[in-house]
């Protein structure tokens, strides 16, 4: 297959670890790669970027074969035209911001002045003009993230790779960076691959999610599919969450079914949005709860799934939700399918992401 996007089938052996994974990303598509540490995500990215040759398989991008051991083809990293935002940003400390962004252009032969001019245009687009002469050490986490993205995009890459762009940022910065990244990524036509451990990011940004575990792809699907039917304990923990779509107005998310959900809308988002509620944030009651939780309504239990350490409860109308409780709580409350219950969760436990 030689589509316009990225097509990877990579077999790589590193010591005793063995990666054998296939992923495909269409132009304009954003693929989120999730997986536990040591699952092979970095190895897969390194193979795609040309920092490591595959032992078997084939990598094609925009119709060009980048790596194919059988055909004896290997295009080195410097000729792959893949933009990358690395974990820890990896900005060049001894160069100022504009030289960092101009680095790729200059490496590809653009004369110094022209490269700096183009870099300045990118800085303007990212609101970094005032920091052009700063050194990376003087930047905040959010600023260096923007510089890293500008540096990657300045070479007009055929593929954009983002390796855990949120690692090392504090919680407040994360929210800002996430919003900026969403904004800037929306304008990128190239296929994009994002590696993350952040469920809100994975579910909020992805067109498609690929789960990599122990060097194998264990699940692929849209965020809704993966969240609804996680196939492993890892995915269930990370992404097995409740996704509610609706329209945000101030502190209320009007669900598509009409039901209101109270949220904390710090970013003052208005319009279509997704709310993410983890199953363990929801409480089950046998009587109407009297507490601080802003969200509480009556419903019925659809089914109960005993998973050993926890029981996953599913409730039906008005808003289907997955809820995790302990086996002892289930026994104490005498929960059975069909039983009428109340559920509650706090507005502060709802993460929201604009669509």
């Amino acid at each position: 297959m030689t589509g316009a996007g990225l097509d990877v089938r990579a077999q790589v052996r590193v010591g005793t670890f063995d990666l054998d994974a296939a992923i495909a990303v269409e132009p304009g598509e954003l693929l989120v790669l999730v997986g536990p540490n040591g699952a092979g995500k970095s190895t897969l990215l390194r193979a795609v970027m040309g920092l490591r040759a595959v032992d078997g398989g084939r990598i094609t991008l925009a119709g060009e074969t980048l790596d194919d051991p059988e055909a004896d083809v290997f295009v080195p990293a410097r000729r792959r035209a893949i933009g990358a935002v690395f974990q820890d940003r990896l900005l060049f400390e001894h160069l100022d911001v504009v030289e960092n962004v101009a680095f790729g252009l200059r490496s590809r032969g653009t004369p110094r002045r022209a490269a700096r001019e183009i870099a300045m245009q990118w800085l303007e687009r990212f609101g970094l003009t005032a920091l052009a002469r700063s050194r990376p050490a003087q930047l905040s986490g959010g600023e260096s993230q923007r510089v890293a993205l500008a540096r990657a995009l300045a070479v007009e890459p055929r593929l954009l790779v983002l390796d855990e762009p949120f690692v090392g940022l504090d919680a407040t910065t994360r929210v800002d960076v996430r919003r900026e990244l969403r904004h800037h990524l929306a304008g990128v036509a190239a296929p994009r691959v994002l590696v993350t451990h952040d469920p809100i990011e994975a579910l909020g940004l992805a067109d498609r999610i690929v789960v990599l575990e122990s060097g194998r792809v264990t699940q692929t699907g849209t965020p809704a599919e993966v969240a609804a039917r996680p196939r492993s304990a890892y995915v269930a923990d990370l992404l097995g969450v409740n996704l509610l779509h609706g329209t945000l107005r101030a502190a209320t998310l009007e669900l598509d079914g009409g039901h209101p959900v109270a949220v904390v809308n710090d970013d003052a988002i208005t319009g279509p949005a997704t709310a993410i509620i983890t199953p363990r944030a929801v409480t089950v009651h046998t009587v109407r709860p009297q507490g601080s939780a802003r969200n509480a309504w009556a419903t019925t239990i659809a089914d109960l799934d005993d998973q050993g350490e926890r029981v996953r409860v599913r409730v039906g109308a008005p808003v289907p939700l997955s809820i995790d409780i302990t086996p002892s709580a289930r026994a104490e409350l005498g929960l059975v399918p069909g039983a009428p219950v109340w559920i509650s969760f706090k507005a502060t436990d709802v993460a929201i992401a604009a669509e």
Partner: protein, 274 residues
């Protein structure tokens, strides 16, 4: 800005300070004081004006700087091979590369003699083919100093290359930089301070080189008689020139090492902390 020497508010333990002071006195202050004590101050002018001294000084500078240049030229590839490639027998190569550090310089001189001397392994061939005679020429003095001093450069730069975070080089490559560009714009700036430190150490070692030089290059005034050789000769014959030239050597070395050293360590601290 993280790593600072000695934590904030941390006090130097008294015992450490005392031992350090005693050591400084025994090994540095007293010997220097001895030189100054015996220095024939009135004869400074005449000794420094003397043709033999000036030739020795000039020759020392030429030879030590040449040896430093050769160490940079040949030492960098060795350091790069040792730091960045994995090959069988690398530990043997490293041992060979730093052997002159532990070898008595006289032994080095003898070894050089039997390699490049008139009847040496390569020397006899060089003489037959090109008529080149290396021993007892200024080239021999440069070769001897390079032999002894280059390991300082190799180990300093190898350590620095190992300390470079190769992910930055990967990042540069992914942005389209070829190997040469990566080396020039990423790797060299990262290890620049260490290269300077290595050069300073190498130059200082070459400047003081005695044993290998006198064995392989001989002691010919104006040709191979560097400062240390001239000092030794003067000291043997109890001439005041020995002390004067010693002080000159000490002064030059201290000044250069202080200037280069402080700048290098300041740069290094900056690189480490950013």
């Amino acid at each position: 800005m993280s790593r600072r020497r000695g934590g904030a508010g941390e006090r130097t333990p008294a015992a450490v300070a005392v031992v350090a002071l005693v050591a400084l006195t025994i090994f540095f202050v007293l010997p220097l004081a001895g030189l100054l004590w015996r220095a024939p101050w009135s004869k400074f002018g005449s000794v420094l004006g003397d043709e033999q001294s000036r030739q020795a000084l000039r020759l020392s500078l030429v030879c030590s700087l040449s040896a430093t240049g050769l160490s940079l030229l040949f030492g960098f590839p060795i350091a790069w091979l040792l730091a960045r490639t994995d090959f069988r027998g690398r530990s043997v190569v490293r041992a060979l590369a730093v052997l002159p550090l532990v070898l008595p310089p006289v032994v080095g001189g003898v070894a050089l003699f039997y390699a490049f001397g008139r009847r040496g392994l390569i020397g006899q061939w060089l003489e037959q083919a090109f008529g080149w005679e290396l021993p007892f020429t200024v080239w021999a003095a440069i070769l001897a100093e390079t032999f002894v001093a280059m390991p300082f450069f190799v180990i300093t730069v190898e350590g620095a290359l190992r300390g470079v975070d190769t992910r930055f080089e990967d990042a540069a490559a992914s942005l389209g930089a070829g190997r040469f560009t990566v080396m020039r714009r990423i790797t060299l700036p990262a290890i620049g301070p260490s290269i300077l430190a290595g050069l300073a150490l190498t130059w200082a070692r070459a400047l003081g080189e005695f044993g290998a030089t006198i064995t392989f290059a001989g002691n010919f005034q104006g040709r191979t008689q560097t400062l240390p050789l001239a000092i030794y000769l003067a000291f043997e014959s109890n001439q005041p020139a020995g002390i004067v030239l010693s002080l000159v050597l000490v002064a030059v070395s201290v000044v250069v090492l202080a200037v280069v050293g402080s700048r290098v360590f300041a740069m290094r601290d900056r690189v480490v902390t950013t």
